[in-house]
Amino acid sequence: MAYSDKVIDHYNHPRNVGQLDKSSDEVGTGLVGAPECGDVMRLQIRVNPETQVIEEAKFKTFGCGSAIASSSLATEWVKGKTVSEAMEIKNTDIVKELALPPVKIHCSVLAEDAIRAAIGDWKKKNGVGETTGAVAVAAH
């Protein structure tokens, strides 16, 4: 499959790989996908409790090149945004940025789910607002 240079760049140099302390109240963890489907993404955010700005994001992904690139890009995009700004990130933005082929759109959906799941987890821990549609694991 011919990938865009951006996918290849994220694949070769994935950003923000690693893990944050799951037990910290400042950290939200989203784990989406399933091994049987060939993609599992774990995306974590560390949120500043005062400003609600996402100061740190980490990911690990089992999946194809598009899945790795989508999650790597997602960590870059959420950093510096407030929690509510991060909720605005759409899978279509990821598709556009990475020029994903149609068969790989599900990778971008998974990345969007991972962001929402991480934020949902953080909200749950901190009793913030309603978790509108954002649950720990989003199925579709």
């Binding site: 499959m1 694949y11 070769n12 989406v32 489907c37 060939g38 089992f62 599900h106």
Partner: protein
């Protein structure tokens, strides 16, 4: 984390990219090309032209190729029918037998790990009132002969079981199947595309009645194949699927692809002469590749029987790493993956699933197909490259991390995606 693609030293004499996907197709042997060349522009006659020397010359070349092919599989030249390749051979064999013997019965037996050229042909016949039994395979990829016995009934006209599998290289107990079919008076067809020229094939010793083969898997040209059709004990009849000039004993009409046929013949001659030494060399390289990968990496699995396997095949799963992302990291090496992500369907390999592999392990599989033109130094390069990429991707894999932390992945409630 450092970059995924860490450079591995390229050994002397190795040119990139490396081709290690010889189950898909193989490069043309220069000796085959040399044999073919005159038949494009100098000896261009139509083999069916019976009234001038151009035609006779072409016919002579075709008959010579028939001999070369027959010799490789222990047949006689008159039993070889030329086709456009293995897909056509399989279609002709199965549809042609189904049609010819429909008075005798409407039941066909095949197996779940066949190539789509067989499975889809059988599925089509089901629409026309044929009954098809798809035998399961054991965890090693082999069918159970007892299952085959049980599936046979008085309406069974055909058993079609492949000789060697294209993904896992597993070799079926063909001689046993043939013996059983002959005892019951059932025609035995085998798709021997991956086996012919790689391992000994003898249609008489193995009681094979109909056999499909193709040139491009044995260092011959694409677009030409053959069907062996037994002429005695029993005499197998096949109903033509293409109507026309009655070429090929009326079984397959169409002007013969003379250069292609010459190439197929030459490819068979070379394969027959060099099979023993080539198989030993490929097996040694394949074993070396396996050993190198296994000694450097944990959580690797061999897919399919190791004992009953083509010498050049290695199908392995690198668990907790997804196959397509692995292929991306070794983009200067051509191999295949059973992962769904390399296909449009998002379903992982049905062959691997038939062995009972979980989808997650199937997604992690890589097929290495070693061939005549691979060198030992290439194997070392490929092994080093794969080891490096697998290690990097596992640093990136949440599954590998969880397993290393002692988490049971089967206990996690994954959301279907």
């Amino acid at each position: 984390m450092s970059a995924i693609d860490t450079p591995v030293a390229v050994p002397a004499g190795v040119n990139l990219p490396i081709y290690m996907d010889n189950h898909a197709t193989s490069p043309l042997d220069p000796r085959v090309l040399e044999a073919m060349l005159p038949y494009f522009s100098q000896k261009f006659g139509n083999a069916a032209s019976r009234n001038h020397s151009f035609g006779w010359e072409a016919e002579q070349a075709v008959e010579n190729a028939r001999e070369q092919i027959a010799k490789l599989i222990g047949a006689s030249a008159k039993e070889i029918i030329f086709t456009s390749g293995a897909t056509e051979s399989n279609n002709l064999a199965i549809k042609g037998i189904a049609e010819m013997y429909k008075e005798r019965g409407n039941h066909i037996i095949t197996q779940v790990t066949e190539h789509k050229a067989v499975l889809d042909t059988c599925k089509r016949l089901e629409k026309y009132g044929y009954r098809v039994t798809y035998l399961p395979v054991k965890a090693d990829g082999l069918i159970d002969i007892e299952d085959l016995k049980r599936a046979m009934d008085d309406k069974t006209i055909l058993v079609s079981i492949m000789f060697a599998n294209n993904e896992i290289g597993v070799i079926q107990p063909v001689a046993e199947i043939g013996k059983l079919c002959h005892e019951k008076g059932i025609i035995f067809h085998t798709d021997a595309v991956q086996a012919v020229g790689k391992v000994p094939v003898d249609v008489n010793a193995m009681n094979i009645d109909v056999l499909s083969l193709t040139a491009h898997k044995i260092y011959g040209p694409k677009g030409v194949g053959a069907l062996y059709v037994r002429r005695r004990n029993p005499r197998v009849q096949i109903s033509a699927q293409i109507d026309g000039g009655g070429h090929e004993r009326g079984m397959r009409s169409g002007t013969l692809n003379v250069p292609g046929i010459v190439g197929l013949g030459k490819a068979c001659e070379i394969a027959g002469a060099e099979m023993a030494t080539e198989a030993a060399r490929l097996q040694a390289m394949r074993d070396h590749l396996r050993n190198k990968l296994e000694s450097a990496l944990d959580y690797v699995e061999i897919n399919g029987s190791w004992e009953h396997r083509l010498p050049g095949n290695l199908n392995m799963s690198f668990v907790y790493v997804e196959g397509e992302s692995l292929l991306m990291g070794i983009n200067d090496v051509a191999v295949s993956s059973g992962s769904a992500c390399t296909s449009a369907t998002l379903e992982p390999s049905y062959v691997l699933k038939a062995l009972g592999l979980g989808d997650d392990v199937a997604h992690s599989s890589i097929r290495f197909g070693l061939g005549r033109f691979n060198k030992e130094a290439e194997v070392d390069y490929v092994a080093d490259k794969v080891i490096g990429i697998v290690q990097k991707l596992r640093e990136l894999s949440p599954l590998y991390e969880m397993v290393k932390e002692g988490i049971d992945l089967s206990k996690i409630e994954w959301a279907a995606h």
